[in-house]
């Protein structure tokens, strides 16, 4: 996991999972995956298996916890909920991402206009 691109992606996925749990409440892995796909307008091509690596990671950090329960259509499933520390982390991370995305779009638009000026 030395690849920096992968790290960024992981961080993104973690944030998405936290946000999903924060807004929808307790949810199983499949539910989280579906929700992320829906919200992103199916733009994220999600290998659903990676969700579980992310869930383990978030559990280890104490940001979410899990318990077995029953789904709407009566299937046994493991449900994840966000913890207090998880919410705190979410606020911090969300703020960070917003700042980053503002800066990024600013940077990209500058370079666009400059290139435009040159040509």
């Amino acid at each position: 996991m030395a690849d920096s691109k992968l790290d960024l992606l992981q961080g993104t996925l973690d944030l998405m999972v936290l946000q999903t749990l924060s807004t929808l409440g307790p949810l199983h892995g499949y539910g989280i995956a579906r929700r992320i796909e829906q919200v992103s307008g199916n733009e994220v091509l999600l290998n659903q298996g990676t969700i579980y690596a992310s869930l383990v990671r978030l559990q280890q950090r104490g940001w979410i916890f899990a318990e077995w329960g029953t789904s709407d259509n009566n299937r046994k499933a493991k449900f994840y909920s966000i913890t207090k520390r998880g919410r705190k982390q979410l606020t911090e991370d969300a703020a960070y991402w917003q700042r980053l995305s503002i800066v990024m779009s600013r940077v990209l638009s500058i370079s666009d206009s400059e290139e435009g000026a040159k040509s």
Partner: protein
């Protein structure tokens, strides 16, 4: 990774199965939910399942990716490697046993010597905060090191600003303790009252001395005495005991580990220093600035550095030197952390231990070379396995790790066994008793430092001997191994690394074995040296009447009466009294000159012994001329008997009888001449000896080590020992009897050095021999496996088993011959170094240097024969078919 998630991961490692099941359940439920959705949207069951699996990215792959996240993949694979390695080793018990034993010998030798280093070099005194307690010494013109005089001690105590406390003590105070059983002789210390405060010592019971107890009869007991003599009596405080005839009150008991500040002494009691006149009567110059007798320890004030203390002491020394030019000129101070090696012996001890460390380290290196050889041989056999594993997708670093895991596991096993060996070895080392009259604590044990050292050493050893084979296994073999070709075999080369290692090993062990042989032969001849007096059938035991306030007159009367009583005991042929037995490492000596002649230059130094009438008879010393002592008294002129060497020196061409000699301010008339005796050490050249009349000497020059009554026995000694002891008790039941020994026992002490050298080198020699034999065996074994095909073909073509055996053994003997050619001159050179501790044999002793090489060659031939026999039993058909 923070601590909490580390813990979780660790837990995960051990709940692996349950977690795997859980994960499997969860992913199955995920699939099920997805399939339900897909079915709802109108897919066929098969389509629904396929789509769900595709989206998940495969069930097994998902499980793997989560697993990597969950535990420590590194640790898991380490455990897997360990299991694999353990299985491999279990399958090759002989190989495992040989390797573990080899390493255990090497590692055990190292941890034994390190135990000595830990005890004598890394040790700090068992006091509170040992780092700020300093042992102070005086120096004279920078010459190290002496004790303090009392006035100098008080000057330093009262004037120095660097120390929060300065304590002084008399280090070696003999006393006999009575009450509660037989009187017993102990060594204690007389200390200033602040001793226990400066040492910051938490006593096991009671307290140290109060400042108003400078001359009070109070005593702090050592823990061992308290245990052995008083059965760990918890109510001992306030009880009274008799110390050298004076009543003392117990106020404290020292903690178990504390045996004084010094590194070696085994102190058993402490009394305030004001009692020293009483406990050491007839010594009256305690207050003189000339008499250096007090040992000083000082506690640094917090925040004061060693450099600051040192420069302050330097200023003080100059001031004292000006104020007292007669006694303190050239005075200086020196200190080191209390409980360190005494500065005077420091270099010698460090050199001794350093040499031993190097020797055992070489032994370990040889062991490593050995094991690496065995591993290489194994690697040859495992090329196929390795090739298959690489072909199946194992990475090279995985193979490297696997081989290293195996070698480390072996070395740790070796380390564990080595620890057992060093436990045994330190035990036997501690059993050696130094032939000195004071009691020393020289116990060496395996402590936590030694254990840590052993562990690290084992780990390092495993990596060291594993690296080369691991490298070979992972990198050196090409893909041809898969086809059954042996990449490591390079037939036709004789000087391979392996052969070189074996030659080096055999030469080294030849050197070790030769030294061992010399030491053992010297021990034998030392026990046959003519010592000039009776070597058996004499009993000795000592008493010290001076410690019981006997006057010199009463002492002489007592000893004369004791001699008379012992001489009439059944089983006793004759008896005598002396101050100390010969061969005790050096007793007393003085320069002796003939009166009325030109003084000899240098002044001959003669060993001085006190002797009662009958002494020569009892010890079997032959009187050549003149007469024995009879009933001399202090009033009559002083007389002496000298040995042949001294007589020849002082009176080369005339009759010494009737002549007068002087030494130590006393004139002696010579009344007899005896044969020469060994006086200090067995190996010495003959020394001048002068026997003085005991009765005439006790008053002026008393013995500090007590007096010894001797009985020449012609019966069973235990019963005589008991009756001599009871003769003493009948005369004075409070006298402690000590140094009770037979002459045989005494001479064993005199053989201490040759015995120690003999034992140490016998051990190293045998270890070296074992290692060399194992090494040769390993290499020959390997050769056989390399040449299996050749041997098979030879046998198929009609070679006989004997011929094949000869072929292999000859190669082994070739190596041995080369090794002997190198080793023998080296051994002769090394033997010269040992000249000073060899008794009665030459360093180029023919017996040793002929028999040891033959012995070694025999062992080598045997080590080569075993694989040779195996080779000759090979079935040619099997070999040829397997190719």
């Amino acid at each position: 990774m923070n601590f909490c998630s580390t813990l979780l991961r660790l837990r995960n490692l051990f709940q692996k199965n349950q977690l795997d099941r859980d994960l499997h359940d969860e992913l199955s439920s995920h699939l099920q939910l997805h399939i339900d959705d897909n079915l709802r949207s109108g897919m066929t069951p098969a389509e629904a399942r396929r789509e769900a699996l595709l989206k998940l990215g495969g069930l097994q792959q998902s499980i793997e990716s989560v697993r990597d996240r969950r535990g420590f993949p590194f640790l898991e694979s380490l455990l897997r490697d360990l299991r694999h390695a353990a299985r491999l080793l279990r399958n090759k018990p002989a190989f495992t046993a040989v390797v573990v034993l080899t390493l255990a010998l090497g590692i055990g030798a190292n941890s034994t010597i390190f135990a000595m280093v830990s005890r004598f070099v890394l040790h700090s005194a068992a006091v509170g905060d040992p780092s700020t307690l300093l042992a102070l010494h005086t120096t004279d013109q920078n010459e190290c090191c002496n004790s303090f005089s009392w006035p100098l001690f008080t000057d330093v105590r009262d004037n120095s600003q660097s120390f929060s406390g300065v304590t002084g003590f008399y280090e070696l105070l003999p006393a006999s303790i009575s009450g509660n059983g037989d009187p017993q002789r102990l060594w204690g210390q007389a200390t200033t009252t602040n001793f226990f405060d400066v040492a910051q010592l938490q006593l096991a019971l009671g307290r140290g001395f109060r400042s108003d107890e400078q001359s009070s009869p109070v005593i702090v007991l050592g823990n061992r005495v308290w245990k052995s003599r008083f059965n760990s009596d918890p109510n001992i405080l306030g009880k009274s005991l008799t110390l050298s005839g004076h009543p003392y009150t117990v106020v404290g008991v020292a903690p178990p580990l504390f045996r004084g500040i010094d590194l070696f002494l085994d102190t058993q009691f402490w009394v305030p220093i004001g009692n020293i006149d009483q406990l050491l009567p007839n010594t009256s110059h305690f207050d003189s600035r000339d008499y250096h007798w007090i040992v000083v320890a000082a506690r640094l004030k917090p925040g004061v550095t060693h450099a600051e203390a040192s420069s302050e002491l330097q200023v003080l020394a100059q001031r004292f030197a000006q104020a007292h030019p007669n006694t303190d000129r050239g005075l200086g101070f020196r200190f080191e952390q209390a409980g360190s090696l005494p500065p005077r012996d420091k270099n010698a001890i460090l050199l001794f231990l350093g040499t031993l460390m190097i020797i055992v380290f070489l032994v370990l290196l040889i062991a490593c070379a050995n094991v690496a050889n065995l591993f290489l041989a194994q690697a040859a056999g495992r090329q196929h396995e390795m090739a298959v594993r690489i072909a199946l997708g194992a990475t090279r670093s995985q193979l490297l790790r696997q081989v290293l895991t195996e070698s480390t596991l072996l070395s740790l096993l070796g380390g564990a066994l080595g620890t057992l060996i060093s436990l045994w070895a330190t035990n036997s080392l501690s059993a050696f008793r130094f032939p000195v009259p004071v009691s020393l604590d020289l116990n060496v044990s395996v402590d936590s430092k030694v254990l840590a050292f052993t562990f690290l050493l084992s780990l390092a050893t495993g990596l060291l001997f594993g690296l080369l084979p691991a490298w070979t296994a992972a990198w050196r073999f090409p893909s041809t191994a898969l086809k059954g070709e042996d990449a490591l075999a390079r037939p036709g080369r004789f000087w391979t690394l392996r052969n070189f290692l074996v030659v080096a090993q055999i030469s080294m062990s030849l050197v070790l074995l030769c030294v061992t042989g010399l030491c053992l032969r010297s021990l034998r001849s030392a026990s046959n040296i003519n010592i000039g007096f009776r070597s058996s059938g004499v009993l000795a035991m000592s008493v010290d009447p001076r410690l019981h306030s006997y006057t010199p007159e009463r002492t002489v009367q007592f000893l004369a009466e004791l001699q008379r009583r012992v001489s009439v005991l059944p089983g006793v042929a004759s008896s005598a009294v002396t101050d100390a037995l010969p061969l005790n490492g050096g007793h007393r000596s003085d320069g002796i000159q003939a009166l009325g002649k030109k003084p000899l230059d240098p002044t001959p130094s003669a060993e001085l012994y006190m002797a009662s009438p009958g002494y020569l008879d009892t010890l079997g010393i032959h009187l050549i001329h003149g007469r024995d002592f009879s009933n001399e008294s202090t009033a009559s002129p002083r007389v002496a008997i000298v040995n042949q060497v001294l007589a020849d020196k002082l009176f080369p061409n005339e009759n010494p009888i009737g002549q007068t000699v002087f030494g130590g301010g006393v004139n002696y008339e010579i009344i007899g001449i005896t044969n020469n005796i060994k006086s200090r050490f067995l190996g010495e050249d003959l020394r001048p000896v002068l026997f003085r009349s005991l009765a005439q000497t006790v008053a002026n020059d008393p013995s500090f080590e007590g007096y010894t009554v001797l009985a020449a026995t012609n019966a069973d000694s235990p019963s005589v020992t008991a009756s001599v002891r009871s003769a003493i008790r009948d005369m004075d039941p409070t006298l402690a009897v000590f140094n009770e020994e037979t002459m045989e026992h005494h001479l064993r002490g005199a053989l201490f050095l040759p015995r120690l050298a003999g034992t140490l080198f016998a051990v190293f020699g045998i270890v070296g021999l074992l290692l060399a034999a194992i090494g040769l065996y390993g290499v020959m074994n390997y050769t056989v496996s390399l040449r299996a095909r050749e041997i098979g073909i030879r046998m198929a073509l009609g070679a006989e088993a004997v011929g094949v055996q000869r072929l292999i053994v000859r190669q082994g003997l070739q190596l041995t011959a080369i090794a002997l050619a190198f080793g023998l001159p080296a051994a002769l050179l090394v033997a010269k170094l040992f000249n000073s501790i060899l008794y009665g044999i030459q360093p180029h002793d023919a017996v040793t240097f002929i028999s040891i090489p033959i012995f070694l060659a025999t062992v080598a031939a045997l080590a080569a024969y075993l694989p040779a026999r195996r080779a000759s039993k090979v079935d040619p058909a099997t070999i040829l078919r397997s190719e």
